[in-house]
Every structure is written in structure tokens, then in C-alpha cells.
Point group: C2
């Protein structure tokens, strides 16, 4: 029982649904480790290499792809994002749960590469609210906002590929639901076969 | 959202694992209704018709089988046990969650007749503890105890047909886990498609 593999929890959903906020809330309130992604996008103000992301050059990132060293990777808005495989696998084998906050393209690849990962779709309370959040972010230029809006609408259609959907209406409520999902997943028969059968 | 169908939670597992205790605990602590089963076995001391069970004659029960009025039924230790279909369906359609405490044969039939029911296997902390519990119950004669022991061992092997396994080591802990399972199941994408897609 002590060495049971940890759970890979994938939080995803459209840009603007608030998956980042929920991720931070879970890291405070649940026993779960953060999987640091690699990216080629530029750091935003306050972001630090090796904390929010591993900031890589395009060349370094493409080498990691060639070496099959990424659990998933995707190109979003001309930048690469990906998850270093070994970092995650070591945590899970150590029995620690691990949280991945990624875009829907990446989530889809985790489904293929790590089928027992738990995919949670973070949904906005409504499409109208999603548009407001994206428009009022203030971190992107107009072209970027338009790209994000049309992309977010497409991303909403990916929901059926996920295991769970949690509406981000109140962060505390959404956080409690995801904590319950973790408890429930640990009780899943297919995660416990080795212990009892 | 208000009219979303309730969840049918099936608690099952070997005789002696303590599913009855956990069921009572859940009825106190969760918003869930009890599905009263029908049976042909004799009432135990303190049991009341229409509260713990609907106590039926063999003839009445067999009529219900013919009328297809049971969600599941099984013959265990020479007695029939079953779940009146309409009683459960009305609650679920009303958006109420409903708990069924039944033996593994019955649980298997619910899987077929109501595939979106949630099957939870209540497991004893160990086989040794299970034997103690069955032997010390004092409500059966020796032959009955032997029957129950061999049956319980077989029933342990049914675990792989279930969605979740919860060890009944401490009733409070087991109850919390099942409450989390209910929260998680309400977030399942396939239970929310109608609302978002």
C-alpha cells in the first residue's frame, strides 16, 4: 500500500477558465506536487525559471521532443509547451500525487501516454464570462485576444475527452470538488487491484 | 441542472464487511435516500416491514420477478432479495441520490440494468477480520456461518466488477471516502453532457 503509485491529475480547459487559480489553490490545500512545464514563451513579469516554468530555447525544446523526453508537448500561439517526463514519473513512482496544468492539446496527449492520468476540465461559469475574462486580462495585445477567444470556443468542445468537469464559479467550491475527485480516484478498483486481488 | 438525475449508489461486498454499518452512517451524514429492498427472509429482531425491508412471501416475490418489477433480485441462502424498480427510478428522476445496500449477485445485475449506477465494494480490513466478524455475529446457526464464510471468500473475488473499493477499517473514514465518491461522480463528464455540450 505504501508504494502505491501517485495520481497524475491533469487540470485543463479553455484559456480564461481559471485553471491557474484553481491549481494554486489546490497546491495550498491538498497534498499534491506541482509538475513544472517547459516552454519556449517568454517569462511574464514575476515568473522565474524552474518555478513557474522551465524556460527553454526553441532548439533545446525540439531536442527534448526528439529524445522523447516529454510526456506531452504542444505548440500554442507559436510557442511550445511541454511536460518533462522523468520529473513526473519519479514523483508518481514515489507515491506522490502530481498536478499538471496544461492546455487541452496537451491534455489529449497525456490521455494517450498515461491513460490512468485523471483529466479534469475546468469550465467557465458561462461563455459570456469566459469572453469577459479573456478580454480583461490585459496581458495580450488585440490580435492575441482574438486568437484566444476563437481558440477558447474550440477548446470548450474538447470536454467530452475528459473524465470530470468542474465549473470554476467559486474557487473554494471548485477546489473542494477536485480534492474529492482525488479521494475517489484513490478508491478506484483498477488502482487497487495489486493490493487486494 | 436542477433536474439532473440522481446517482444510484450501490454498496456491496462480502457478508461481514460491514456494508450495513456504512450505509447507516451515510444516511445520517449525506443527502441520500435509502432504497428499501424486498426479501422473503424472516425479519430479524427489531426489523420492521417497509423500513429495513419489504418482507414478502415467496409467491409475491416470484410475481414481481414475472412482472419485471425488480431492478435486481437474487437468491442468497435460500431466500430472495430484490429492489423494487419504480421506487428507485422515481427518486433518481426527482434528482435525489439513492443508496442500495445489496449482495454481490444483486450488484452485478444493477451493473447490467442501470450501467450508470456507481458500484462500491466494501472490503474488510483483512480476510482474518472478516472471518471474526462472521463467526461472532451470533445471529446464525453453525451451518449458516459455514455457508457465509465460504460465500464471503467467493464474493471477495467479485471486486473487479466494481467501480470503487473502500476498506471498512474505520466507519468514519470509509463514510468520508464514499461522500467524496458521490461528489466526484457528480462531476463526471458523462453525467454533465446535457448541461454543457
Amino acid at each position: 500500500m505504501a508504494n502505491k503509485e501517485g495520481i497524475l491529475l491533469v487540470l485543463s480547459g479553455p484559456s480564461g477558465a481559471g485553471k491557474g487559480t484553481i491549481c494554486k489553490s489546490l497546491l495550498r490545500e491538498a497534498e499534491i506536487q506541482y509538475s513544472i512545464s517547459a516552454t519556449t514563451r517568454s517569462p511574464r513579469t514575476g515568473e522565474k525559471d524552474g518555478r513557474e516554468y522551465f524556460f527553454l530555447t526553441k532548439e533545446d525544446f525540439e531536442n527534448k521532443i526528439k529524445e522523447d523526453a516529454l510526456l506531452e508537448w504542444a505548440k500554442v500561439y507559436d510557442n511550445y509547451y511541454g511536460t518533462p517526463k522523468k520529473f513526473v514519473e519519479d514523483m508518481l513512482l514515489d507515491g506522490k500525487d502530481c498536478i499538471l496544468e496544461i492546455d487541452p492539446q496537451g491534455a489529449h496527449k497525456v490521455r494517450t501516454n498515461k491513460p490512468d492520468g485523471v483529466l479534469v476540465f475546468i469550465a467557465p461559469p458561462s461563455m459570456h464570462e469566459l469572453e469577459n475574462r479573456i478580454t480583461n486580462r490585459g496581458t495580450e495585445n488585440l490580435l492575441e485576444i482574438e486568437k484566444r477567444l476563437s481558440c477558447a470556443k474550440e477548446e470548450m468542445l474538447c470536454m467530452h475527452n475528459y473524465d470530470y468537469v468542474v465549473i470554476n464559479d467559486q474557487v473554494e467550491v471548485a477546489t473542494e470538488k477536485i480534492k474529492a475527485i482525488l479521494v475517489a480516484e484513490k478508491c478506484r478498483v483498477q488502482r487497487n487491484k495489486a493490493c487486494y486481488l
